[in-house]
Subunit: 276 residues, 2 copies
Amino acid sequence: MAPSRHRDYYPPMRVGFVQTEPRFGEVAENLERVRELLADPSADLWVLPELFATGYQFVSREEVEALAEPIPHGATVDALVRLAEERTCHIVAGLAERGEHDRLYNTAVLVGPGGVLAGYRKIHLFAEEKRWFHPGDATFPVADVGQARIGMMICFDHLFPESARTLALAGADLIAHPSNLVMPVFAQVTMRARALENGVFTITANRVGTEGRTDVSLTYTGESQIVAPDGNILVKAPAIGEATEIVKIDVSQARDKAVTAWNDRLRDRRPELYAV
Amino acid sequence: MAPSRHRDYYPPMRVGFVQTEPRFGEVAENLERVRELLADPSADLWVLPELFATGYQFVSREEVEALAEPIPHGATVDALVRLAEERTCHIVAGLAERGEHDRLYNTAVLVGPGGVLAGYRKIHLFAEEKRWFHPGDATFPVADVGQARIGMMICFDHLFPESARTLALAGADLIAHPSNLVMPVFAQVTMRARALENGVFTITANRVGTEGRTDVSLTYTGESQIVAPDGNILVKAPAIGEATEIVKIDVSQARDKAVTAWNDRLRDRRPELYAV
């Protein structure tokens, strides 16, 4: 019997998330905590939360400006690259970016031992983020890590099915999804649908804890999760407390988009009949 | 205090599903069973399963031809219109349609006391349906029932987020989703996401029972469900057995697409950055 076309070429990949409770503004401390939490032996790919080093609940644009960093050469990215070197891994993490014309972005980076492989500026800004951040104006990126194609989206992007669809059409096998989720139920439901409808792995790395820096207190919902292309939740963190999890995945599962012998998730699409 | 802009103009609407176990080919019997199952007092809108009158597992094109009917004037549609008259309701139901050039379609109709309001020919055919049915070549339709805008899609359309999105962009408040689901988990997850991401009500009317007319035995998964725009499952039928459920909904909930004071499910979209 001939070997199946895909299965034989993909070594298992160890992928994981780090669910943290950042202290607002304590960048060095938050970075150090991530270093402690990374399991040994490391995953091949780690996903950290959105704005993992700074915290989330900014109260002014000046506050974001003070904590935002340039990419690819800022202190947080440099520290992530060193960490990737030490652990021989890749890391997706969310941070506040100071871009051209002093624009501020809610950004995710994919870094490896050699430096930054890709960046993504959040396209769908959530709530007061619209006060400080400029929305991204480039589409969702895909970059190779070994034989896996890694796509990135951030938190609220999950509610727009076009985000994950755009990544799947660009060839993503795995969607890294740094998050600071505050609405219960939402993303844990939609991300399972995203995995299923696109036939991809998804890793949502959410944070925990409460920030009450204004009269609106934000409690982050945890429950970081990794979902397989068949919609199965491979692992889910508790709603409360820091956590790391690693699962071993077979990336080739995401290359086979078949639903039945007659159906393919992407080829069966009828774009000429869709409204956009 | 001024009344809220949407809430005051919409009387509550009673919507429901009928989960049946059709006997293959027994059109008159299956229709009679639906008549018996419809609760009294009736819902304002009922959703029945896909191919509710004929059964699903055809084994030849000839078999479909023998059972398919023209629309709007076939025996099954006529019976549905009479039922809508008797109960003063609207009904969405799936049936096999004989169209122009003797093409066969897996179709859903929306009928009221006055006749057929809209038809939809299934765009994403599932598995062996591709052997007998011609895929629909018109987009997903929306039609008014009272103050509600009703959209239709059929079964496997659920896996393609573009289906429900197209309906939401056309103004649908409620998506009627006649189904013959055989894959566990899939639609019960994706339809909850469809409601949430589009801010619409969804009614999935699934069938139950087993058909073993070939060496592939199909068991239908039941669990018909009605989901609210906030993702809450308002009611769900058991996996086994016939069932009817009615819930009272406030259609205006589907007109308000806000997620936060800053966010709107449709206006926040960035079509220029999406792949289609």
